[in-house]
Symmetry: C2
Subunit: 234 residues, 2 copies
DNA sequence: GCTTAGTCGATCGTATACAATTTCACCAAA
DNA sequence: TTTGGTGAAATTGTATACGATCGACTAAGC
């Protein structure tokens, strides 16, 4: 609920940071389709700022992998290739077990309560229908992994996971099949249960398979038009 | 050896990317001390470009954690706190075992040869004396971990490791004690040997202890002057 | 003498201006 | 109908301009 201050938007201090967050949210929420051109002038007009600030925001997003900046052509919402998608999930398989073990070291009863609460919210959203609910569900699903990362108390790792989750959301939005990805909810619960029991090996095992399942539920056959450009450019 | 084109510097296309790389190299090589102010005007004058490009470079470096940008005060070479340093190494412990296992899947004889070659170079540098050799040694030590990451064939992970190694170098430059950190060379060799034998569990174990040793050889008592500013600011 | 207010210089934040490049529409020729 | 070329319009790349903020120094007051 970050977009709370719409009515007085032009009075708010609209900094690069704010623009970046807005665009990122829009991309992750799928309100901006992959491949969409983000014209500096247009975005600037939207926020009532000059191109200078917009450029900064777009460059930052480019660094996060959510936007591709092509020289002399402009910025576009990232259109991750299947290979890129595979790398993102492969990276998650490499690091999330580590996160799990580290987080477990720092977890107390209150942490488990927070996790359970998040899972309940997630389950509630799963029951609902409609675009909005689906978006919220994808977001909640990512928040689970993000919350685990935050429990490591490690800001560096948190940033990495933040980026990975955002890019995963983009990939799921692109290649995800209708409703199947929801089955991850039960897996989240199983993971928490395993941690709670102190069975970290099992928790890690479940986590890896969970990521496998997310990836398996994607249909990453070669894409639409936009790929031709990438195939021959540069 | 990236700074090969000094004589004709003003004719080169000095883009944001180039400036960023130069500054990063200077930081990692310890030619720029932590805490050093990077004035936009000064850097711009140095490269004969406007502040616009410099700002872009500094913001990118800030995202990498090598530079701190303080609002209305300017950019400074990062001065990692002990806590930050701990998080960097903790992150490496969380992800490098994963890298190891993934890299091992893709490694053939030629890969081992490359690794051995790097290790020989590392050993050679260890024998030499002088600042230059020490810098090269720290760099070579990082390159070992970077090479392992590159063998995963995963660009996302490679970028993460690149950032972690750069920041580690900064930390070592700051808190490292004279010659002790060199003992890691033998550990690198042991890790390669373990991978070669297919004993990944042992390789991971060695890797974690290796990172432990690097961290243990630091003297992270509370720092010099520059920290006072951070202590009271914000 | 120490504290506090006020001014000045330096540096950053943002907007704007101009140059360079790409895109696209239009038209002519095959 | 398609292909190829030309020029204007749009868009990005970079530099510069100007207002805002911070830090240091000076000076006045306690």
């Amino acid at each position: 609920m970050k977009t709370a201050a719409l009515p007085t938007e032009d009075q708010i201090d609209v900094s690069t940071q704010y623009i970046r967050d807005c665009i990122r949210d829009a991309i992750v929420d799928r309100r901006l389709a992959p491949g969409t051109k983000l014209s500096e002038a247009d975005v600037g007009a939207l926020f009532n700022v000059s191109r200078t600030l917009v450029r900064g925001a777009l460059q930052a997003l480019s660094y996060e992998g959510l936007v591709n900046v092509e020289k002399n052509r402009g910025a576009f919402v990232a259109y991750p290739s299947p290979e890129e998608a595979r790398q993102i999930f492969a990276t998650r398989r490499m690091i999330e077990p580590g996160i799990l073990r580290e987080a477990a070291k720092h977890m107390g009863p209150s942490h488990f309560q927070h996790l359970r609460q998040l899972l309940m919210e997630e389950g509630r959203l799963m029951g609902e229908r409609g675009q909005t609910a689906r978006r919220a569900e994808i977001k909640a699903s990512g928040d689970f992994h993000l919350m685990l990362a935050s429990m490591t108390g490690n800001a560096v790792m948190q940033r990495f996971m933040h980026e990975l989750v955002a890019r995963s959301s983009l990939v799921i939005a692109l290649y995800g099949q209708s409703a199947i990805s929801s089955c991850g909810h039960q897996e989240h619960q199983d993971i928490v249960t395993a941690i709670e029991r102190g069975d970290l090996d099992r928790a890690c095992h479940l986590m890896i398979h969970h990521i496998d399942h997310i990836e398996a539920d994607l249909d990453m056959r070669e894409n639409k038009s936009s790929d031709l450009r990438e195939a021959f450019k540069l």
